[in-house]
Subunit: 373 residues, 2 copies
């Protein structure tokens, strides 16, 4: 079955959108945060836990699964859903982001990208056609076009040539895409530049994808201002009836600013990565559970949180687990952090409905970051 998206309402105060995703008999609300399961597992969690914390779409990384265990094994297993036992929607990236972090500029040619396998150093070659073929076999519900991910700080002329190639690659990928149950998204690039984002968006939309992503927004030390420009300059030129996805965004304020600019989907490894380092989201900011002040703190991570972790465990116990490098520690923090982001999305949805998202943003910034607007 193919995933369906229905736009339900558009905010009158911001460009925010409320929508519904229908998949496998279940309905999920957008804007949505999507946890990342790089190796066909959301790190430390079972699929039951992934669902219990409120997840809908989860991500898997094409690059990692291509190298290990290989798309043929996953295909023989009956696709990613059966392989990892997850019956909710799955999105796969194109592999481009990982490949470009491993490749040098000179390794990029019209045909594709040469780079070294990070596991064994083998020379590999990835092309738009190959990326789509792998994703077809993985049988995810949303596949991404293979794009170049230049840093936002790349020079204007380079970016201009790069987005043109990315559009040619998108076209090549679409031509070989063969999975009728799988959506295929195009990716808008162009750094923080209005003209480039406009060109990239309009040309990509001409190719008529099932949805559109905003790329190049989280792979560099770009300023927040530039990130939000990239959101705004992209969504301006995207059709209203298709999903819009900001890739790699997981910082709460960036999600809120993205929603304000008309974005529906966000993903990031941050909730599980933060967890492994002992960090937890709370409604009054991030805390580092390793801090010695939590040694004898027998309260929950967040007093108002209803997640499994907060209902059953204390900061003192979680701190002990993290200090002792017991994996249950990262698991309890991952459960909490992903739950927190899903709760944040529910708050955002509520405030979109009430046209009070800007006020919520200001309150949230004050409470979470200690910043007055």
């Amino acid at each position: 079955m193919k995933l369906q998206f229905n736009l339900k309402a558009t905010d009158t105060e911001t460009k925010g959108r409320l929508g519904t995703i229908i998949y496998n008999g279940k309905s999920y609300n957008t804007p949505m945060f999507m946890p990342v399961g790089t190796n066909a597992t959301v790190k430390t969690l079972s699929v039951e836990e992934v669902k219990e914390v409120g997840s809908g779409i989860i991500l898997a990384n094409t690059y990692h699964l291509w190298l290990r265990p290989g798309e043929d094994i996953i295909s023989k297993a009956g696709g990613l859903h059966k392989f990892m036992n997850y019956d909710g929607p799955i999105l796969t990236d194109s592999g481009g982001f990982q490949v470009f972090s491993l490749a040098k500029k000179k390794d990029i040619c019209e045909e594709g990208v040469y780079f070294k396998n990070h596991l064994n150093g083998d020379k590999l070659f990835l092309t738009p056609e190959k990326s789509i073929a792998i994703q077809n076999k993985l049988d995810s519900d949303i596949a991404m076009s293979f794009d170049e991910c230049p840093p936002a700080t790349a020079d204007y002329e380079y970016l201009k040539q790069s987005i043109k190639r990315t559009i040619r690659w998108a076209k090549r990928g679409k031509e070989v895409h063969q999975n009728p149950n799988q959506m295929l998204f195009g990716i808008v690039q162009g750094g923080p530049h209005y003209e480039l984002r406009k060109y990239s968006a309009l040309e990509t939309v001409k190719l008529d994808f099932d949805g559109y992503a905003i790329g190049g927004v989280a792979n560099d030390h770009e300023s927040k201002e530039d990130m939000y420009k990239a959101f705004e300059y992209s969504t301006l030129f995207l059709p209203t009836d298709k999903l819009r996805y900001a890739m790699g965004i997981g910082e709460p304020i960036d999600i809120i600013e993205g929603v304000i600019r008309g974005i529906d989907l966000f993903d990031c490894v941050s909730p599980t990565r933060l967890a492994r380092h002992g960090h937890a989201h709370t409604w009054t900011g991030k805390i580092n559970i390793k801090n010695s002040k939590y040694k004898e703190d027998f309260t929950a991570l967040d007093q108002n949180c209803k997640c499994y972790t907060c209902q059953n465990y204390t900061r003192a116990y979680i701190r002990h687990l993290i200090m002792a490098e017991e994996t249950l520690g990262a698991r309890l923090l991952s459960i909490h952090n992903i739950y927190f982001l899903h709760e944040l999305m529910k708050e955002i949805q509520k405030h979109l409905e009430n046209h009070t998202l800007i006020a919520f943003k200001n309150e949230f910034k004050k409470a979470y970051y200690g910043v007055e607007e």
Copy 2:
């Protein structure tokens, strides 16, 4: 509440015993395998999973918890049960086993043992009184006497002096034991020697403990024959109405041989340690899931197993998780391995009831180890 043990029946074919442990309104059958939660967590599992796989008593290590987070923090949390959120029975060891693996012979004196903290190299001193005081604070349901754990291969004269000191230490510990809800067990030592085991058992029983352990059976490269002698020569002199516990035993055949010789409780880190290394128990032997023959094996770890892992995941997926060093892999294998040992105990109980344990042992050895009796 104090844990209760009731002996229900004694096998007519072997020295095997069937019993019941009553704790916190729940009843558990013996012979029982007890999983180990060194740092107040059974590695990779939540307490819900610990219960779902069928566990009753679990272990925690006094030495580790003394050093981190410290017994005072656990006491302030309300004891181990509250700290780790486990409402089933908990047994703590005395710290002796860990201390002796870190100490040199010359560091052992009448008063106690000097040794180095394995986390930071600090010099530490542990005595029978200190071990009991820590366990009192941890508030486990069964505390162990502080004993010397000499290797089974230690010379006879050394063992003789050592067991006498261990008896003096047991007496000192019992005198300071102050937790009315906590059982205190004595430990029988003496290597594979009949006279030493007899002396150790009789003198320890004179001190009137709530139960008795057989120590020195898994800390060395002793032969199986010597291990089984140690079981037999100890239980011969133990009262029938008290629990008997073989420390550190987790290999299936050793558990069966222990039951045959009248032992009720067994513990070992093996199911979780094997899991971290990619090994799984099956009814036809241990398998190493890293083996490339499981790459495309889309069957369960064990065809007849009803555990969560076997009901939901394939060998190919678990292999992938272990190869990719994803913690869900060790978790799925830990769930399966602990479940397997609990199922083994159920089989043993059934065969004790039917007086067919010897036949079961022979069948099991053939199926699991490929050995004909």
